[in-house]
Amino acid sequence: MHVTREDLDTQARTVLGTLKPTLTPKERLTLPPQPMPSRDPVERRTSMAEVAEGYTPAQAQLEANRCLQCKNAPCIAGCPVHIDIPGFLAKAAQGDFKGALGVIQQSSLLPAICGRVCPQEVQCQAPCTVGKSLKSLDKAVSIGRVERFVADLAREENSASVPNCAPATGKRVAVVGSGPASVSAAADLRRWGHEVTILEAFHKPGGVLVYGIPEFRLPKAIVAQEMDNLKAMGVQFQTNFLVGRTRKLKDLLDKDGYDAVFIGSGAGLPKFMHIDGENLVGVFSANEYLTRCNLMKAYDSDRSATPIYQSQRVAVLGGGNVAMDAARSALRLGAQEVSIIYRRSEQEMPARREEVEHAKEEGVRFLTLHNAQRILGDEKGRVKNVELLAYELGEPDASGRRSPVPIRGSESLLEVDTVIVAIGNDSNPLLRQTTPELEVNKNGNFVVDDEGRTSLDRVWAGGDIVLGAATVILAMGQGRAAAASIHRRLSSEA
């Protein structure tokens, strides 16, 4: 049964009204965990508007009051950028939301985005004492939701201030790409007084935040605002600039006068299954499908010039966030039936819990313990069926997850007209092809030291180009570590 935001707010206010000024830990544990208000599943599956509506002030304050303020703060260790989580929750618990945002901003630059896209249940919320005491990870303090609330509130009230920048150092840094790693690095470098230029290959900045993550999960207006903040700080943007082609990496240093380069170009080469039928008409990488839908706005078919495949029955191969995004986008683009095909069980799915739940509520079918064997087409070369093989779980493999074992003779056919492959990305070959001096590992990812330094002098890297496919917050952490290293180097040369 769907509960509206208004009802959740009323309930939260009632509890909040009865709270004593000081609470014992035991009392805090009895406070009701606050669900994320979301739009009605039936209505939202035909709309691009954001699904998760965000806490109300009462919900945010009540949820923050559930935090026990543990002395050892295990949540901080779980956060890749080590936000002072008890610190910001203490302020939010008092209703000081602006103060709470101030605490977050000491460590994180994109709280409105991270609050939405971080996999909190495996990071800060996993070790939360509240969850452990109540013996349910789902009952841990919803740190990410409170984070999102305080960031959204400041944006809506226009009270977030543009950070001050140190006096100009005269040093110039080129930042390649404009996704999470790059914008984090750019913001820090600019604050320290360096001249920063972001070089983006697409026609709009934001990287995966604009081409990959859909509007209904991360409204593009929020990303645009973050980009505007960077511009207000004096960061320059050059779009339609592909480093390696428009300009060689080394030319940025040797000819264009940059003192350092940070590469945060992401993991941009979609993986395919290498099964029969993968080049049939109607088979897409999730990157292509999502880019058409998000960046190119194909969902707005009256205005967008970019076409998107008209699908009725869709199979999405994969179990990560990208697979959920593709499946839910397909529904919104008019598909009647969308199935997630994943060869392990739901427990092993790497997608955020909330995304899996939202996908289910919207009617996405989960064919777990199944994998695509081949794709069959009709006489026009269009997708007709996907042949599935059932799996069972065996012993844990190298990743620590129980390995999927195919069940012999379990083949079955699923009738579909579209297959979306969402099994991750390989590293884009462009920079390593055009910069042979850059050391890469066997997967083609850049090799860096713990400060993000590559094998090339004055060149740093971070995010998915180093990590392979990872998360927004990890990319941000790497961007900031590299920025600090760049700053140390440039300061030593001043």
Binding site: A201, F202, H203, K204, Y211, T239, N240, F241, L242, R245, T246, R247, K248, G268, L269, P270, F272, H274, E278, N279, L280, V281, G282, F284, S285, N287, E288, T291, R292, M296, K297, D300, R303, S304, A305, T306, P307, Y309, Q310, K380, G381, R382, N428, P429, L430
Partner: protein, 283 residues
């Protein structure tokens, strides 16, 4: 922003456009292409080939046929206007060396991307034969430039209104059988022409490179929409190509994939024609 310096109509729906793009002009090599988008919010990104470049002026030249929504809108732009988004140069440059006798085969608008490749092959010391094909004499482009460059130009039209009344594969076959057998063939044109050029040279074992123009979104390797089957392997036209060994390309699959959005394209053409009628009537 890229300022348009010149626009010229070459034939019925074929246009030449020269515009400012200093970095692309200095970095581009024969065989590379661009992605152009007209409207940042709602425009589509389309790949177009580079016909020429002038690094001193900082300009590049494209030749395109106004057949889809975006190329039609592009054709409406004039000198002094700007192009919002131009990305390039993309793709691997053509491998150029002195092969001996190089034969460049261009069909229709495919003569435009062929031009810089012919230039580079000639500059590398090759004996250069150019075979140019078009439906009729009005659709022939860059004939003077090719004549200035090549040792021999063989012109073919479907209706015989200029040169031979033949398909480009006929003189190509004769060259393969003759005393001056080609050491390299580069064929650029409609996919079906490239397919039959590859079939023509296959029995003679003449290496035949083709330049593919598939559906693309980003042009940087990110979307995989441009993938083709080459020698049993999936390759991306944008980062592995656009040139491949024509004898290894699965043209039939590529032709099918090019039809992916046919329904939508027809709808747009209809819409587009309606939109275009008013300004044309007033012009």
């Amino acid at each position: 922003m890229n300022k348009i310096l010149e626009k010229r109509r070459l034939s019925n729906d074929v246009y030449l456009m020269r515009f400012e793009a200093p970095l692309i002009a200095s970095e581009r090599r024969a065989g590379q292409f661009l992605i152009i988008q007209i409207d940042t919010d709602f425009g589509e990104r389309i790949p177009l080939t580079i016909a020429d470049a002038d690094p001193r002026e900082g300009s590049i030249t494209i030749i395109f046929q106004a057949v889809g929504m975006t190329t039609r809108r592009l054709a409406e732009k004039n000198a002094g206007d700007t192009l919002e988004n131009v990305l390039g140069p993309l793709g691997q440059p053509t491998h150029i060396e002195n092969f001996g006798h190089a034969v460049c085969v261009g069909g229709g608008i495919g003569v435009a991307p062929l031009h810089p490749i012919a230039q580079a092959l000639k500059a590398a010391g090759n004996k250069l034969t150019v075979i140019m094909g078009a439906r009729n004499k009005d659709l022939i482009i860059l004939e003077d430039q090719m004549r200035a460059l090549a040792d021999e130009v063989i012109l073919c039209t479907d209706d015989g209104s200029a040169g031979l009344k033949a398909l480009v594969t006929q003189p190509l076959k004769e060259l393969c059988e003759g005393p001056a057998k080609p050491d390299l063939v580069v064929a650029i044109g409609p996919p079906i022409m490239m397919k039959f050029c590859a079939e023509t040279t296959r029995p003679y074992g003449v290496k035949t490179m083709v330049s593919l123009n598939t559906i693309m979104v980003d042009g940087t390797g990110m979307c995989g929409g441009c993938r083709v089957n080459v020698g049993g392997k999936t390759r991306f036209v944008c980062v592995d190509g656009p040139e491949f060994d024509g004898h290894l390309v699965d043209f039939d699959n590529m032709l099918l994939r090019l039809q992916s959005y046919k329904g939508r394209e027809e709808k747009d053409r209809h819409k587009c024609q309606i939109g275009l009628e008013t300004p044309q009537a007033g012009a």
